[in-house]
């Protein structure tokens, strides 16, 4: 019989399909795990609703549960339950190490253009705060584009959500 701890361990091995340096558990999309009579129920919170990786994530989790010999039941929770604050400290460090600046902690209320245009964002390569917003939108819905004035390196910023 599979235990909850084993399920968490197994899910922690599944890489994010678009940003494979971090796992689904580090991304914070696994809300809860319940095991009952060989059935594993996973509460899954989507990141961006239009993210094409959401199905891939759900299928990867279901496959992994089947490999453990249990029946998966992945439920999608669309209520307002995921934010970038759910990315774990380890996950943030891995993002930074791969050149993707981690999201800022979520402020009260929504982020503003003034905040995004401020220099509160560190370059993941040289650590300088002398960076500027190039484009609110980037290669995927969850990223913005920034430029470091110190080391002259463009980089991606995980949007704060």
């Amino acid at each position: 019989m599979v235990s909850e701890a084993q399920v968490w361990e197994a899910l922690a091995e599944i890489p994010d399909p678009e940003i494979p340096v971090i796992s689904l558990v580090e991304l914070g999309v696994v809300r809860d795990v319940e095991v009952e009579n060989g059935r594993v129920r996973i509460g899954f919170t989507p990141t961006f609703l239009g993210c094409p990786a959401l199905e891939v994530m759900q299928e990867a989790m279901a496959d992994r549960i089947r490999e453990l010999g249990a029946e998966p039941d992945v439920r999608v929770l669309t209520a307002d339950s995921w934010s970038t604050d759910r990315i774990t400290p380890e996950g943030r460090e891995k993002l930074r190490a791969s050149g993707l600046a981690p999201p800022q902690p979520r402020a009260e209320g929504a982020p503003t253009l003034v905040q995004l245009e401020s220099n509160a964002f560190r370059c993941p390569y040289c650590g300088s705060r002398d960076t500027k917003l190039e484009n609110i939108f980037g290669p995927t819905p969850c990223r913005s584009l920034r430029y470091c004035n110190s080391c002259r390196q463009p980089f991606e910023q995980f949007k704060t959500l």
Binding site: L49, D80, P111, I136, F137, G138
Partner: protein, 192 residues
């Protein structure tokens, strides 16, 4: 709010987001410059993601599926605003629509977030946080273009359409034909 009323409200918003998402995606590959190509493609992707989540909630109330609601209705059954259905190849019109839509959508999301319905309020909260970035983008363009006569004229022309949901033009039918072409080419009941 009854289940039927909730479903109708959800369809109204979902139709807006689906149709606007299609229109925004028309800039993919041909926007005036690369940043805007990326921006409108990303916004389109978000809007269609919102539409799907809203259709899924409505589909549960109505005993159907999100795809059937999105693609198997006739053009005159769509509840979208006339603002979103227009094909707007002019940049000033695209930005004017973007700005007007984001304003109206923000007000609507504020009301939904306060609804005494955790599912509706929860989904509205999630959509609203993604829309924050769309609003920023719209505001940035508004600030750039606000004194331009062509932009002012586009705002005046489009503003009356925001709340018009009854009666659609030819352009929605044309869009519907493109959007549902592949689905209509398959026998009913095909699994996608």
């Amino acid at each position: 709010m009854s289940e039927q009323e909730r479903a109708e409200l959800l369809l109204e918003i979902a139709d807006d987001e689906l149709i606007l998402g299609w229109r925004d995606s028309e800039w993919t590959g041909i926007a005036p410059f690369l940043e805007e190509d990326v921006a409108f493609s990303s916004i389109a992707q978000n809007e269609i993601g919102h539409a799907r989540a809203l259709y899924e909630l409505a589909a549960r109330d109505l005993g159907t599926t999100a795809d059937e609601l999105a693609f198997d209705r006739k053009p005159d059954e769509y509840r979208c605003s006339q603002l979103v259905e227009l094909r707007l190849p002019g940049w000033e019109h695209t930005i004017a629509r973007h700005y007007l839509y984001e304003k109206a959508d923000a007000a609507r999301l504020e009301r939904l977030k306060a609804a005494d319905d955790p599912e509706l309020a929860g989904l509205a909260g999630k959509i609203d946080r993604e829309e924050t970035y769309h609003r920023m983008h719209a505001q940035m363009w508004f600030d750039r273009l606000q004194s331009e006569p062509r932009f002012e004229a586009a705002l005046d022309e489009l503003r009356p359409l925001v709340d018009l949901r009854d009666g659609h033009g030819e352009e929605l039918t044309e869009l519907w034909e493109q959007m549902t072409e592949v689905r209509r080419s398959q026998p009913a009941g095909t699994k996608w």
